[in-house]
């Protein structure tokens, strides 16, 4: 599959080359396809798998699907939210363990749950600029194999011990150790600046926007039902490669019902006074998994006889001041999407598919609620009125994180590849290519959103 005459130092497309310093014409970055491993509930099938294992498996499945063995890809970018310090070069190590050419460069990226989508956008931009012709974006996370740190007290003692020169000095340092210092420091999903977990943060927003329990359960029910139907239809046959005996996402409940979801006890927002509505059924569980997306210039895809599913049109990041309670922790996409659409001259009515990451069912509903709120539109988005409504029939039509699970950094890749396939299948109608919107909220009050268009 290698291209004869490919330059050893730069992109193969002469169209992308220009005189040094000259402004280059932007070209399109396309999604060729994707591959992920099934997502597993934490403590399940992938308990013994490291981030590197899972990312390598996802890469190898992608390589096999598209015949990329020994191929020198322009660049691979991926990341993990829960990452051990020894995995400083996680993505490069995964590349070295994969069937790709060892001459494929790679870098790690981390933007909490937006990691996966940000790798897609960053690499797509490099392709658009002509810096690279091909790329693999991705992400991985293991809540099962999460790194455990030592306490701050023990860490300081160990570092000082290392610097101590004599035995008496060492003994003196060691004498500072207290039993409580020996307790390990496990990672949590708490926000460092508020101490609140992500669920408790969302519960504040849920209460603020009066999101009902029934509406949340319905989002969750639809997610499971849509994902199960997609599996049954073979939709994931070319998006997923089994791993460690798992052939489907282990969080998927094919037999769930609204009645069953209604029986679950609330787990977040119990101390808010208002009725708690967020349950384990309408919140995503801790999950292990990895995903990858193959990106390319059109010329590279053509030269390799590979499909072109969708273009990466544009992306936008936003952040909110959740620390002072101005906005909810997971509400940044509510700001990012209006900015992105305005820049591209689009409205919500111009989209055929909406992929709004289901961190919690209430996150999706809160986002839709603020977009439908005239006051929010005027005072916060600077519009004449409400931003708009979306056709629910176009929302997460093949399921999303509530059913599939949410290995933080892997979610962006899952959504990008899934949406690209849906867009390609829908194709162009009345001269307009099918269009899809991705919205992903992230810890730290951030959000990354993107537009894809069918090819």
């Amino acid at each position: 599959m290698s291209i004869d005459g490919q330059s050893a130092t730069g992109p193969q497309d002469s169209s992308a080359l220009a005189a040094p310093g000259a402004t280059r014409t932007l070209r399109r970055a396309v999604i060729v396809g994707g591959n992920r491993i099934p997502f597993a509930r934490s403590g399940g099938a992938y308990t013994k798998s490291s981030n590197q294992d899972m990312l390598t498996a996802a890469l190898d499945g992608l390589i096999a699907r598209f015949g990329l063995q020994d191929e020198r890809i322009g660049e691979v970018a991926a990341g993990a939210v829960l990452k051990h310090s020894r995995d400083f070069n996680l993505t490069r190590e995964a590349v070295l363990g994969s069937a790709l050419s060892a001459e494929t460069p790679a870098y790690d990226l981390q933007q909490a749950c937006a990691t996966g989508l940000e790798t897609v956008l960053g690499l797509a931009n490099k392709i658009k600029l002509g810096q690279i012709d091909s790329a693999i974006a991705g992400g991985v996370d293991s809540a099962s194999d999460a790194p455990i740190a030592v306490s701050e007290g023990l860490r300081e003692v160990l570092l000082d011990l290392n610097r101590a020169k004599s035995l008496p000095q060492r003994l003196q340092v060691l004498s500072r150790l207290r039993p409580k210092d020996l307790a390990p420091d496990a990672p949590g999903t708490g926000e460092p600046r508020t101490g609140l977990s992500m669920g408790e943060h969302q519960a504040l927003t849920t209460a603020q926007w009066n999101i009902s329990r029934a509406a949340q359960d319905e989002i969750s029910y639809n997610s499971h039902r849509n994902l199960a139907a997609a599996y049954d239809a073979g939709f994931f046959d070319d998006l997923l490669t089994p791993y460690r005996g798992l052939t489907r996402d282990s969080n998927l409940r094919v037999d769930t019902t609204l009645e069953k979801l209604a029986t679950l006890k609330p787990v977040f927002g119990k101390s808010l006074g208002a009725e708690a509505t967020m349950t384990a059924g309408n919140s995503t569980p801790l999950t292990d998994g990895a995903s990858t997306v193959l990106l390319a210039s059109e010329a590279w895809a053509d030269a390799h006889d590979l499909p072109k599913l969708a273009t990466v049109v544009d992306g936008e990041a936003a952040a909110v001041d959740f620390v002072h309670g101005k906005d909810g922790l997971l509400m940044a996409p509510a700001f990012a999407v209006p900015r992105l659409l305005a820049r591209n001259g689009l409205t919500l009515a111009d989209f055929d598919f909406f992929e709004i990451h289901e961190a919690f069912a209430a996150t999706v509903l809160s986002t839709l609620a603020v977009w439908e709120d005239e006051e929010f539109g005027r005072s916060r988005l600077g519009l004449d009125g409400a931003f708009g409504t979306i056709d629910r029939a176009r929302l997460n039509v093949n399921g999303s994180s509530l059913a599939a699970g949410h290995p933080f950094a892997a979610t962006g890749g899952r959504i990008a590849a899934t949406l690209a396939k849906m867009l390609h299948a829908k194709g162009t109608e009345n001269g307009r290519p099918a269009r899809g919107l991705i919205s992903i909220c992230a810890a730290g009050g951030q959000g990354v959103v993107a537009i894809l268009e069918a090819l």
Binding site: G61, I63, A64, F66, G67, G234, D237, D305
Partner: protein
Amino acid sequence: MTDKYTQLVSHGLGRNVARKLGLPQPALLRRYKPGQALISGPILVQGASAGAEELAAILLSWDLDVRRHAVPREKLGAIILVMDELAGPEDLEKPVLSAASSLRDLAPSARFITVSRPADGAGTPSGAAARQGVDGFLRSLAKELRAGATANGILLPEGVSATSPSAVAALRFFLSGRSAFVDGQFLTVSTAEGRLPSDFEKPLAGKVAVVTGAARGIGAAIARTLYRDGATLVLVDVPAAGDHLAGVANEVHGTALQLDISREDAGQRIIDHAVQRHGHLDIVVHNAGITRDKLLANMDHSRWSSVLNVNIAAQLRINQALMASEHFRDSPRIVSVASTSGIAGNRGQTNYAASKAGVMGLVRATAPLLAHHGGTINAVAPGFIETEMTARIPLALREVGRRLNSLQQGGQPADVAEAIAFLASDAAGGINGTVLRVCGQNVVGA
């Protein structure tokens, strides 16, 4: 891997003990590796016909050491007995007995190959008797040979010369280590079609081949063998086997297509994938198959129908799509994996044997349809092959199963793959609608 018993009795103490106790002494078979000589040792070509002369000349042109007369006590790599002009049973004795005197000079893993004509074209009862006689003679001789030596025959109907491409290719196949586990079998070369490769090490160069059921076992071995022979591969297996499939695909630089072949649109999806990724489609190996063993008294709808559906119906549908496609017209090749169960029957496998016998039936009936475009379809029927599947058979049964053939051992997945690679080659264009057994001349079946 050769089984442990075969390894044990092949050397030193184990060999001596087995010999003294009269235990089976399976030989380590000569199997093909790239760069390996076609055969080591001189080849004795016996027979006075023009065909014998022409064959000897071809062997000489390959720089092989060819004898037209036996040199006493010289170790022979092979004996080729050309009997293409038998008029009556009395014509058998002379060539057969002249070969007999050289049998003791055969080296380990030597080859005995007859070249004769099929009985049904003889024209006279005595001619047919003589020709059919070769069949019984060869099959019996195969059972007498030792030390990994095999005996196989090439059948040439009237009008097909001993030097036609497929006759020559079949001769090479039988001489080489590629046919290690083929024993006591006849290959019929029905036409003078076919083209010898420019490089015998890469007979499938430039070909795009699809292998179904490629994630493991025989399918994975087929993928590796076709890749070694130069083919570009599309590997198909059910989505649930995708991780193993990806591993094989990355090993052979192919593309993985996760697809349930029993889907209605499987044929079209295979064609679309092959054409989009590789521009064309030349070879399809129907290897995917399932077993759902049960005595007939306990058979139910799901066991029967799932086996028949995957093993035959899916293949019929895919073949239909292939033959309707303009992308499958340039000397296309289909090779189906059958089974000796479909020839001899197997207790508890009424469904599987029906499906595999069915495969042989469909292969024969499809042959004339493909011949239109210079295409062929053939089947390979494996006997006892050492795979993960046969490794699950209880030890005693497994031990009996693998010794019940002339080579006294189970075959390797690669042995099946070699036969498939041969039938998939351009050179085998004159071989159509046949079933080649890769069973070490299992005692069951024809």
